[in-house]
């Protein structure tokens, strides 16, 4: 994306405004990735914050040729994984608000929010490695090959983790909706 290239170029040139724009553009996406892996919003906020502070100190690490979205998502996922290894918390969904696109009927919004809550809750029940594969693929938009390179595993392993995760989510959500 040309907009991201310009943002990276300006940021590497020392632009404070470009840094603010990058933060505002990707904060929600990165928080989603971090929260999905870590399970709580406060820790996820810390991780995203830490990634940006590190980025500030080494602007040359941001590759002009690569995708900024993918780069930041991988940084956040790596840091979140490290933090997760240090502690094991139960994933909580109480503090998360699910945003639904505006301009819809209240009943539709309520139904959509409930489905999002169920999906998020289901995500929290997945094993860590499956959850990471799902979030990096669906939220961060990384291809399976890129996830495999990031995690240092084969592409087949990533694909099977993803397949198992979606299958498990389907079972969990169907059970929840029947109740």
């Amino acid at each position: 994306m040309i907009e991201d290239k310009i943002l990276i170029w300006r940021f590497r040139g020392g632009s404070r405004k470009a840094l603010g724009q990058i933060y505002c553009k990707y904060e929600a996406l990165l928080l989603t990735v971090a929260t999905a892996i870590l399970g709580d919003l406060a820790s996820a906020e810390d991780v995203v914050h830490d990634v940006f502070v590190t980025l500030v100190k080494s602007p040359d690490k941001v590759d002009l040729d690569g995708s900024l979205r993918h780069f930041l998502a991988v940084c956040v996922a790596n840091r979140a994984r490290d933090r997760l290894r240090a502690r094991r918390d139960i994933v909580s969904v109480d503090e998360i608000e699910f945003h639904v696109p505006e301009g819809q009927q209240p009943e539709v919004i309520a139904a959509e929010q409930e489905q999002l809550r169920l999906a998020w809750s289901g995500l929290a029940h997945l094993p860590e490695e499956q959850r990471e594969a799902v979030v990096l693929h669906l939220v961060a938009g990384l291809r399976f090959r890129q996830i495999a390179e990031t995690l240092g595993i084969s592409i087949n392993t990533v694909q099977s983790r993803y397949r198992y995760a979606v299958e498990k989510l389907r079972t969990l959500l169907d059970e929840e909706m029947r109740e």
């Binding site: 100190k57 999906a119 995500l123």
Partner: protein
């Protein structure tokens, strides 16, 4: 629920901080950026900002002085313009050719006869002749 729908749901999930907390984090990151930039530009790795400004000012001064000296110097090298030579038109070539031929054949009288023929052809004889015009 179908896998497509599950994927679609997860794609749309976005976790957001409260606006106040978000601004607090952003301010902190920007402050870290400012601190790092400040230490980076005055440390040994990079030039201090004032050095860059002085260097730019000196460069501008050198260029301006050079231009002024070159402009005022009497023996400055002026590039020679390539000499252009107007190419005669085909009508001019024909006229010159016919006059040259007439001169070879009959000298000045031959040229005069040729001119008379030309004037008769185009009807360019003046109706009234003045002495002043003949001189």
């Amino acid at each position: 629920m179908k896998p497509d729908r599950i994927e679609q749901l997860i794609r749309t999930i976005r976790v957001r901080s409260t606006p106040g907390k978000r601004q607090e984090r952003l301010d902190d990151i920007l402050a870290a950026h400012d601190r790092w930039r400040q230490s980076h530009t005055t440390s040994g790795r990079g030039f201090p900002r004032w050095v860059a400004k002085v260097a730019i000012a000196a460069s501008v001064l050198i260029v301006v002085t050079y231009q002024a000296v070159m402009y005022r110097s009497p023996d400055r090298i002026v590039p020679r313009q390539p000499q252009t030579r107007a190419v005669p038109s085909s009508a001019e070539i024909t006229t010159a050719g016919s006059l040259q031929m007439a001169f070879r054949q009959g000298g000045l009288e031959g040229v005069e006869r040729q001119l008379d023929r030309a004037f008769e052809l185009i009807g360019a004889w003046p109706t009234v002749l003045h002495e002043q015009g003949l001189l």
